[in-house]
């Protein structure tokens, strides 16, 4: 396959020249790959610097009040990101509340309970679903889920908590269909496949010997999972959940369709709200005036910062797991 044509009558000088040529090409190729690798870091730094520069006018105009003001008024050029930040955090929190237990449940089902011939197909199906673009979830949420929630689930929730002190404020009507709750639900469905496929992978790194020892002592499936598998896989499961959280925080299309785009914070999670990504997607191309654009870019910067912290934590946890798995094998 490899065509190395070395003639047998190679003189010493020819030989030296060939070696030198190889050396030069080697250095050039090394430099090329190095440059490409450094470009990745430059891209990352470029994103931060350009966002920072772009948001300078807004930072100068509003300072810290940008973070704690709920006011969003393009007409008077008064901008505060609190409602969007709140929406981003609360929808992701809701998504995690649903998706983490369900995702872990699916992973447990796949590793321990699912009939063997079904395991591979179901695992592959879950992974394929993780690749479905978010806009698909968005359009489904808008046309199918939101109307259904409005007619069926939300009136029921509002009635259910209507007379419960404290909780009634969280679930106050009217049923809009779209809103924070719907956005959180869509997000949870969206991150579900990635949580379960990462958790499934992590569970597979648990040495079978440990589980067999547990079963050998007469443990039930629950005891093996709770006392053996989960403690062993803890870092990886948390890392996987953090990774999903990072994606949920930055998710745009699935949220934009159903969140309702209202720039204020309601106590009720059934009310419409907005998130950082939804605000940017909705308003950026229509933003007139440099301060408006700059405020939106500053929101992007905040979003990048939040996701960076979450994703970095996820990387550190999953990285620790990888090293351990590498060391064990």
């Amino acid at each position: 396959m490899v065509d190395i044509a070395l003639t047998e009558t190679l003189t010493a000088t020819d030989r030296a020249a060939t070696v030198a040529k190889g050396g030069r090409r080697d250095a050039a190729f090394h430099a090329l790959t190095w440059a490409a690798a450094v470009l990745v870091v430059i891209l990352f730094a470029g994103i931060m610097v350009s966002l920072l520069l772009g948001s300078m006018p807004s930072i100068k105009a509003f300072g810290l009040s940008f973070l704690i003001s709920e006011k969003w008024n393009p007409v008077t050029d008064k901008f505060g990101a609190l409602a969007s930040i709140y929406g981003t955090l609360i929808t992701s929190l809701l998504a995690m509340l649903v998706a983490v237990p369900v995702g872990i449940g699916i992973a447990i089902f796949l590793t321990e309970l699912c009939p063997r011939p079904l395991r591979r197909p179901v695992a592959i199906a879950v992974e394929l679903l993780a690749g479905i673009p978010s806009i698909i979830y968005g359009i489904w949420g808008l046309f199918v889920l939101a109307p259904w929630l409005q007619v069926h689930l939300q009136p029921w929730i509002i009635d259910l908590f209507g007379n419960v002190p404290y909780l009634q404020d969280f679930f106050a009507g009217p049923p809009y269909g779209i809103g924070i709750f719907t956005a959180g639900l869509i997000l949870s469905i969206m991150v579900l496949p990635s949580i379960s496929s990462i958790t499934h992978d992590v569970f597979l790194t648990v040495p079978p010997m440990l589980k067999e020892a547990g079963y050998g002592l007469g443990c039930t499936t629950w005891e093996v999972m709770w006392r053996v598998v989960l403690p062993f896989a803890r870092t990886g499961v948390v890392g996987g959940a953090m990774l999903a959280l990072g994606r949920a925080l930055g998710e745009t299309m699935a949220v934009t369709f159903v969140i309702g785009n209202a720039h204020h914070i309601s106590t009720s999670i059934l009310a419409p709200g907005t998130s950082i990504s939804a605000t940017i997607a909705n308003e950026f191309t229509e933003a007139v005036g440099s301060l408006y654009t700059s405020a939106l870019i500053e929101m992007g910067l905040i979003l990048f910062f939040i996701t960076f912290v979450v994703l970095a934590a996820a990387q550190l946890m999953l990285g620790a797991l990888e090293r351990r798995a590498g060391g064990a094998s």
Binding site: D26, F29, I132, I139, T252, M253, I280, G300
Partner: protein, 280 residues
Amino acid sequence: MKNPRLLAQRRAINVAFIALSVGAALFGIVWLGLILYELLVNGVSALAPILFTADTPPPGQPGGLANAILGSILMSVVAVAVGTPIGILAGTYLAEYGRHARLAYVIRFVNDILLSAPSIVIGLFIYEVIVVRMGHFSAWAGAAALAVIVIPVVVRTTENMLLLVPNGLREAAFALGAARSFVIRSVTWRAARAGMITGVLLAVARISGETAPLLFTAFDNQFWSTNLNGPMSSLPAVIYKFAMSPYADWQRLAWAGALLITVAVLTLSIIARVLERRRS
């Protein structure tokens, strides 16, 4: 030492636990099944040959998605053509030259962050760097945003695939006197080729549904356009615009577009899987 009550209790907990995780699995699968079902029902009913021959219409008139499909394909091709070589070279550095270099740890870390970074932020970045400089929206900017998404995917898969190549192969080539760059290009890359193609396919699948970074880079264009220097339509952007509109015929086109994208993404992922499996 037998304690029948304890045993019964443990069994009961176990049964409850099994019921819960089977329930979780069903819950998840039912949701995902519902999404695919609605997508199929609404998408298939909107499928027609005109989708591929006519451009996006004004409301109330018949039309298709031809310009959007063309735009998506053009921008994806440019993005992959730019992003793949960079990604492969960077992945090669990580796996071959800088495997344990301190720089490589930084690059891996940054790359994994970029892999999951919000795509809308990448759109803002390209807007600042390209759209503002050029003064107008353009397909070049859209392709650049997509390329920024392609690079980390290709870097990660290339590195992983190259690390799977047995060291014996490299050593055998070195022993024959081949230079390192020659060994990488003719031995390691060749051995990892299927895996690297998988990475590129996954990257294409990833960008074909990306909407957020295109909204304010390539923007949208109602007409058939092959001019990369001007605004260009794309399937996701059209789906976004049409689905949010109050017009029933626009919404039908949005469903059709959603079905096309999903079919494309699933096909690419399945081909990638088959390739990967053949290798192992």
